[in-house]
Amino acid sequence: MNKLTTAEEAVKKVKDGDTLLVGGFLMAGSPETLIKALLETSTAKDLTIVSNDTGTVDSNMIKVMQQGRVKKVHGSYIGSNPMTGQMLIDDKDSVTLYPQGTLAEKIRCGGAGIAGFYTPVGVGTIIEDGKEKRTFDGKDYLLETALRGNVAFVKATVADKFGNCFMRGSTKNFGAIMARAADYVVAEAKKIVEVGELDPELVTIPGIFIDALVQSEDA
């Protein structure tokens, strides 16, 4: 049960055609060490990327996209990555945008064994196209379904060797839920400590969700 490995080794789990969940909100909590390894040492292609924003012009995901390895994006706010904007212009089906809370809840449901949920967000907008609309107590809701990945990359502030992750401040965002919604989960951590050194009350992601643990270059 040794989860410690290198970024290069961990990203080998990403296969052609995989759906990859990538934690982070802009640069906060973005697993750049892992994305850089994906960029430099992996050739996996036809990837579907699930990410709030697909990063910024200064981060590594845009470079993976420039390699032509991303065929599909599920996101919410993509104004910070012009490549994703361009994908949407070139092929409107290549990028699916969701209200941020809907994206978060879809991923949470994917990790929590819930098939779908009814949200009032998006009613009366183009978001409702193709979705079931249903009234509860006189108010309209849309049915949204769960979203999961083959692999997830997340970033922790501190992790213990069992994989328990503490994500500090506003870095929790999507990583905390994505780690529960993929078949194989890699965490990079700024600091890695022995089991027992992390306060049980500070665990953002229980170690049972983490399959591989990598020292972040942001240490």
């Binding site: 909100f25 802009l26 640069m27 906060a28 909590g29 709030n52 924003d53 910024t56 996101g75 919410s76 706010y77 993509i78 104004g79 910070s80 012009p82 904007g85 949407l88 212009i89 945008l97 969701y98 209200p99 941020q100 809370g101 809907t102 978060a104 809840e105 991923i107 949470r108 949200t119 009032p120 967000v121 998006g122 009613v123 009366g124 907008t125 183009i126 978001i127 502030t157 994500m167 500090r168 401040g169 506003s170 870095t171 929790k172 965002n173 999507f174 990583g175 905390a176 839920i177 953002t204």
Partner: protein, 216 residues
């Protein structure tokens, strides 16, 4: 005082003690600078903070504590942090009292369009749809028109962010309430008349006899 700060200062007068407030990027963030004396509010940031404070001072930036625009901020005593699903549970669940944000268009049904212009590059809706549906009160704070083109419409022509959610619009020209009868101009800014406001407004404004002057 410039137009944006003028608007922000008037918006701040809408806040009540104890309010949980989400401020959109741009003009709305200025509102935090004008919260009236004696009024304590809690700022919510949709990526996972309650109790956001001012921007971090140069040299004191913490990359793990940022605002929804990605910039380093501080937090106030009593703040807390959480993940995105928890955050949008707070927003969608009706626990944000006021959200203040800009718009491309607002119409007399309270519809708002603020996330895409057809034919232009689409940045995505981010948390805007959740916020306008979830918050108890939605205040649109924006410049009244763009180069004379009205933004306050009889009917929005851009893709909507949400239907029937806006109750108040505050611009550099006045304050408007959206009622079931239409848009009521409740205050007009110094130097403008109701006719001036109507001239750059697509919707027909209802002007009460006792039209007040907008004070900040």
């Amino acid at each position: 005082m410039d137009t944006k700060n003028f608007i922000a200062k008037r918006v701040a007068k809408e806040l009540k003690d104890g309010d949980v407030v989400n401020l959109g990027i741009g003009l709305p963030t200025l509102v935090a600078n004008y919260v009236p004396e004696g009024i304590q509010i809690t700022l919510q940031a949709e990526h996972g903070i309650l109790g956001s404070g001012p921007a971090a001072k140069p040299g004191e930036e913490d990359p793990e504590i940022i605002n929804a625009g990605g910039f380093p901020i501080t937090v106030l005593p009593g703040a807390c942090f959480f993940d995105s699903s928890t955050s949008f549970g707070i927003i969608r669940g009706g626990h944000v009292d006021v959200t203040i944000l800009g718009a491309l268009q607002v119409d007399e049904k309270g519809n708002i369009a603020n996330w895409m212009v057809p034919g232009k590059r689409v940045p995505g809706m981010g948390g805007a749809m959740d916020l306008v549906v979830g918050a108890k009160e939605v205040i649109v704070a924006m410049e009244h028109a763009i180069k004379g083109e009205p933004k306050i419409m009889k009917t929005c022509t851009y893709p909507l962010t949400a239907v029937g959610v806006v109750k108040k619009i505050i611009t550099e020209m006045g304050v408007m309430d959206i009622t079931k009868d239409g848009i009521v101009l409740t205050e007009v800014a110094p130097g403008f008349t109701a006719e001036d406001v109507q001239a750059v407004t697509d919707a027909k404004l209802i002007v009460p006899n006792n039209l007040a002057v907008m004070e900040i």
